[in-house]
């Protein structure tokens, strides 16, 4: 059987309820948001225990903030991860399912790693205060290691996803099917490190934002805030440089016959990364002033790279004549409208608690109505 035929045969026979490009756009957008919070959780957890083990009052204070914010960021990463997980299964179901089933225990392990990482992070956050509690730093380390493991699982699923020509040979040895789900068939270490190093760049920007956000508060120590923002700017800058070097390493691992190096989406993605780097260079002297700009350009760069990632996926799968745009369509406008209207309503509803939290954090108080 020809592989293209097999891949199309694995698709869901009921088709998709709306145009595939729309799911693709939503998938890329929600993935970008998801990965930013993943970066914050991974980088934040590392910095939280790193600062915890350092001496100095500022370090301890920063550790506390990062531990606390990482719990929230990890929650956000989980919830935001649901959306791209859903959409990838709509348009790339053959690839996602085969890759996941082949390494089933790792996929299930992913959730165990994240859950335990979460609980360890909370233990670290709630118990770390005071000299006697220094041992709780271990929980921070454990949480970080588990998050790295979880990220590795996503790496292997995403890499195996792209290699349908190898699936059958992986799965079969003679007439025996490997149904154990414990085997890892492929992963890409450069790709993995590119994400992990970027975590520190995004966390650096987060620290800059922290310095800026609380700068108007009378009850906060200005020197401390400035120290955090400056440390963040430095962390962001150097991590971005390293991420770029790792990025080149990863790019070399992409088969040259795919001609991805000259792909306009990659070039745009790289350029956006360079712009972000320039903003960070400018930000070194006055990190608070550039905090919002850095955040904006970080987001744009991540979005650009997420788009390039999706384009590369299409290039890879194009080899097998797979295109999401030929997915059978069984249009269902009612349910599409249900989602879109709920989504708009959701944004309006969320604006309220977010505004309350923003005002409370930035100015330390709210008005009578709480807004």
């Amino acid at each position: 059987m020809e592989l293209a035929h097999v891949l199309n045969g694995l698709r869901d026979p009921m088709g998709v309820p709306f145009y595939p490009w729309f799911f693709q756009v939503l998938m890329v957008l929600t993935f970008a948001l998801h990965i930013i919070f993943v970066n914050l959780a991974i980088g934040g957890t590392f910095m939280a225990f790193y600062e915890h083990y350092k001496k100095g009052e500022y370090n301890k204070k920063l550790s506390g903030f990062l531990a606390r914010s990482s719990t929230v960021n990890l929650s956000a990463a989980v919830v935001l991860g649901v959306a791209p997980l859903l959409f990838v299964q709509v348009i790339y179901d053959p690839f996602w399912y085969v890759s996941t089933v082949l390494s089933a225990w790792w996929a299930v392990g992913f959730l165990i790693f994240v859950t335990v990482a979460f609980l360890a992070l909370y233990a670290f956050y709630l118990k770390r205060k005071g000299e006697a509690m220094k041992g709780f730093g271990f929980f921070g380390v454990a949480s970080f290691v588990l998050l790295l493991l979880a990220a590795f699982v996503m790496n292997l699923i995403s890499v195996q996803f792209l290699e349908p020509e190898k699936w059958k040979a992986w799965y079969l040895t003679g007439t025996m099917m490997n149904t154990s789900g414990t085997t890892i068939y492929d992963f890409r270490i450069s790709r993995y490190l590119h994400y992990i190093v970027a975590s520190f760049a995004i966390t650096g920007v987060f620290m800059m934002l922290y310095g800026w956000f609380f700068s108007k508060r009378e009850d906060m120590d200005k020197d401390y805030l400035h120290w955090v923002a400056s440390s963040g700017a430095k962390l962001a800058l150097w991590s971005t440089v390293v991420a770029m070097i790792v990025g080149v390493w990863w790019l070399l691992s992409v088969p040259s016959k795919l001609n991805f190096v000259s792909n306009p989406f990659l070039i745009i993605g790289v350029l956006l990364g360079v712009v972000f780097l320039i903003v960070l260079i400018l930000a070194q002297k006055e990190p608070e002033k550039y905090a919002m700009w850095s955040a904006l350009f970080a987001f744009v760069a991540v979005l650009g790279m997420s788009t390039a990632r999706e384009v590369l996926r299409m290039v890879y799968l194009g080899k097998f004549n797979y295109s999401i745009y030929t997915y059978k369509l069984n249009l269902n406008l009612g349910s599409t409208a249900l989602f879109l209207l709920t989504f708009i309503m959701g944004i309006i509803v969320m604006a309220y608690p977010l505004a309350v939290a923003w005002k409370l954090g930035r100015y330390g108080k709210t008005n009578e109505e709480g807004a």
Partner: protein, 453 residues
């Protein structure tokens, strides 16, 4: 058809059962607890009761960590477990209900924003604003239930969807409203049981008594109303499902009894420690009551799951992930009809090419692959584990290939079992393999497998 995953010696069903059973705890608490928190907070502000606020703050953190975190992760866990056990079924559900899940996801977003804001703004913003945020959380958690109930109900009673394939035809299915009402009522029982735990920790006896009474009233009301709706629910599910639950399977009959006993015990608990002797309520009894409640809910959910047999998606996809009905509205034709004529193995890309045509030297390998394809989503091939095939065969007295073959022929007669799918030769190959699991030493005649005589 996808590659297969097998939890050797334990069973794939067990993986799903473990994750789904655990999920029941945090997910129900996440939807139920905040209604009571809201009303208790209101009362606390009205009566300027700072003790109560302290407790509510502590318990919101518990809800946050325990329910929100482990709830969302085990929720995703059910999804992952379904993916590795039955990818085609989760795919089918997603390709119908992607916008339903996406809509539910919007409510998850609202929940996460509100629960963290709620917790971190305790006593830092005006009571009115704080309670409003708590109420938004409670409502969005309930709305996520409104959505998921549509999909859960669809999986048992698809209604007009079978003909139309329409999203809302399946969503507002015959068991939707009764199930939503049952779940909503029990949500308040969960909330009441949760509030009883909070109350039992309170030091001020007056406050404790008041809080216990509130908790008990919610709990008792929910139990009575939920019980009535449950009767309505059972009336709305298909007759065959009722037969499976109440006649066919001893397991589900036991589950039903457990659910009833749990309900009665909880009723007694709320009456005694909630209304009569609220001052003596202790955290231990409150926690035991909560555990009893969850045992009851687990029993109920298990019954609902078993009642879906032999389907993963009713009147569409069997529990072996094969499509057994035409779905004209979506242009899908039955695979079972096709496979019965031309065979399962030739259509399975992930089967080795050497077994696609069964002969005297490959029939065991073919039988093994067929057995795994059609059975391991529920059964194990080892003598240990969940619903072990060799153990069941011994129980049914089917030990030789021809006895197993006759058993496979009769599979469709069991309400909860899908029929064997494939050609006669494939059926004999499967029978030969299964017989070899029961007794590895018996001699199997290859000519019988290949030619049937």
């Amino acid at each position: 058809m996808y590659p297969l995953f097998e939890w050797h010696g334990v069973g794939n069903g067990m993986l799903m059962a473990i994750i789904a059973t655990y999920h029941i705890l945090p997910c129900h608490l996440a939807t139920g607890a905040f209604w009571i928190t809201y009303f208790m907070e209101r009362k606390a502000y009205q009566e300027n009761d700072m003790d109560m606020l302290d407790f509510l703050k502590k318990y919101s953190l518990l809800v946050l960590i325990f329910c929100f975190v482990t709830g969302s992760l085990t929720g995703a866990g059910i999804w992952y477990a379904a993916t590795v056990i039955s990818p085609r079924a989760i795919s089918g559900l997603i390709h119908n209900y992607v916008w339903g899940w996406a809509t539910e996801w919007v409510f998850f977003l609202i929940e996460i924003v509100t629960i963290y804001t709620y917790y971190y703004t305790f006593e830092k913003i005006s009571p009115k604003a704080h309670m409003r945020i708590g109420l938004i959380y409670a409502m969005s958690a309930w709305f996520s239930m409104v959505i998921i109930t549509g999909i859960l109900g669809f999986m048992l009673t698809p209604g007009k969807w079978v003909q139309t394939g329409g999203f809302f035809d399946g969503f507002f299915n015959p068991s939707y409203w009764p199930q939503l009402f049952v779940r909503t009522a029990f949500m308040f029982v969960v909330g009441g049981a949760y509030a009883a735990i909070v109350a039992s920790f309170m030091k001020n006896p007056d406050v404790k008594e008041k809080a216990m009474k509130v908790a008990a009233k919610w709990g008792l009301g929910g139990l009575v109303v939920g019980g009535v709706f449950t009767i309505w629910y059972f009336a709305k599910i298909p007759a065959v499902s009722r037969t499976i639950i109440f006649n066919d399977l001893g397991f589900t009959q036991t589950m039903f009894k457990i659910a009833i006993v749990a309900g009665v015990l909880l009723f007694i608990y709320f009456v005694i420690w909630g209304l009569k002797r609220a001052r003596t309520a202790s955290p231990i009894t409150a926690i035991i009551a909560m555990l009893i409640l969850f045992v009851g809910i687990c029993a109920g959910e298990t019954m609902r799951e078993m009642a879906r047999r032999p389907y993963l998606i009713p009147h569409y996809m069997l529990s072996n992930q094969m499509i057994d009905h035409d779905m004209k509205a979506k242009g899908v034709t039955s695979e079972v009809a096709k496979f019965d004529k031309t065979g399962v193995l030739p259509a399975y890309y992930f089967a080795p090419d050497s077994v696609k045509k069964i002969n005297e030297s490959n029939f065991m390998a073919a039988g093994r692959i067929l057995t795994k394809l059609e059975c391991i989503s529920c059964h194990t091939l080892e003598t240990s584990g969940f619903l072990s095939i060799p153990r069941l065969m011994v129980g049914f007295g089917a030990k030789t290939p021809s006895e197993v073959h006759d058993f496979l022929d009769a599979l469709g007669d069991y309400d909860y079992m899908p029929p064997f799918v494939g050609t006669e030769t494939e059926k004999r190959a499967m029978a030969a393999y299964i017989a070899s699991l029961v007794d590895p030493n018996q001699k199997i005649d290859p000519a019988w497998v290949v030619a049937g005589k």
